[in-house]
Symmetry: C2
Subunit: 222 residues, 2 copies
DNA sequence: GCTTGTATTTATGTATACGTTAATTCATTG
DNA sequence: CAATGAATTAACGTATACATAAATACAAGC
């Protein structure tokens, strides 16, 4: 069986594909902490040369997901439960800031877009389709990041957001988290419409807190 | 004249050296926004092959310091005044969090270390040696980041801190910012000693705000 | 004279080859 | 039998070679 990467999407480079691939494998837990990643072996498995693999692994090292020990391969560090907790504490502050800044920058078009996401979310919440819900949640937050008008804040949050995907995916699968999340998005949207910065910040902070509360109160509910 | 990189420090790889080199050149403004970086040309100038240069440039791209346009080289994006403002707003929140978390984790040894940094800072403040002062300030903040006990927070802050070095360096050169900065560090240290989390957060937030106020009130004082 | 198409140049993306260093293994000796 | 040392192996770091694709320049046709 070939494990070759998909080459169809030629818009993005191999090193990017390899990087995204490994990163998602680590975040999903396929590569567990302590596992070692060997450039040559991985290159063979993916059907590419060492070059793009090297570049991908180095970026993983810079991002703190692996630690390269000399001649023994890169060992996976991964994301601990504490890391997730810390990320939510950081996001609570920064997403609040993003929401506050976004208030004065959001255009009518973007607000319409957010509304559309909420509508779709309600639809998929009824169908219990978490896959689609997760994607919509991503787009919602991404839109707010970009609407903040801050390159640095956007970069920082985009990075942090990725790390908590699996935790969030499992969390959103629980009880009424489906609709609760949508409700919180709608509250935020309302604050955006009223151009109420304080309310927007509060709504976003609350949303992040609730998401985390849900995760810790349902540990390992997979 | 040879522009070759220093090869003496063999502890760090070439790609790392090249990366740090370009990054500092961008942050210092030697490479201005709009300038293009050509892998081949740069490799020649530095006296290395394209491989380490490639890997360095890609990391710059991921960090948002350059944008690679196809076949036209990587164009330097750089740090705008707004970026600096945004970074200080973010740091204000996150360094406050770091200080709060550090309170319960700081060991006696680390507090002694912080005290030593303050002592030295006072010495160099009198001598008006900003070079050394900047280094000490780095170490002070770095220690707090690490004492926060959070890998994610440390990573995030370390990254943000680098971008504002030149602005800060120029800022610290102004009027009584020398001693003011040291005084603020001492106030923070006092809060650490008393294990007062609220006071530590407040002192750190204040310190970051003051540093930024100083920058904006003395624009382009170079 | 302007536009369009083609050829050449140029720069990046990928692969491979080479050098170096650390880890492991095996043999030899005390 | 254990310990030490040399040789082999394995993995990374760097350099170079090759492939590809875009940009530019030049020429031909309208």
């Amino acid at each position: 069986m070939s494990k070759d990467l998909d080459f169809s999407g030629s818009d993005t480079s191999l090193r990017n594909k390899v990087f995204q691939h490994i990163k998602s494998q680590i975040i999903k837990g396929v590569y567990a902490p302590g596992d070692t990643i060997l450039e040559t072996k991985l290159a063979d498995e993916l059907g590419v040369s060492r070059t793009p693999v090297r570049e991908a692994v180095w970026l993983l090292e810079v991002e703190g997901l692996v630690e390269t020990t000399s001649k023994k391969g890169a060992i996976v560090v991964g994301i601990s439960a504490k890391d997730v907790a810390d990320i939510f504490a950081i996001r609570q502050l920064l997403e609040g800031l993003a929401a506050r800044w976004a208030v004065s920058k959001l255009t009518e078009v973007e607000i319409k877009e957010l509304q559309k996401i909420c509508d779709l979310s309600e639809f998929y919440a009824q169908k219990r389709d978490m896959e689609e819900l997760a994607k919509l949640d991503d787009r919602f937050h991404q839109l707010v990041y970009e609407a903040s008008g801050s390159k640095m804040l956007n970069l920082t949050l985009k990075n942090l957001h990725e790390y908590v995907q699996p935790a969030r995916l499992h969390s959103i699968n629980i009880e009424n988290r489906f609709s609760a999340s949508v409700t919180e998005h709608l509250a935020l949207l309302e604050a955006f419409r009223k151009k109420d910065a304080a309310a927007a910040e509060k709504a976003m902070t609350h949303h992040v807190i609730m998401a985390y509360e849900n995760i810790v109160s349902h540990p390992d509910a997979k």
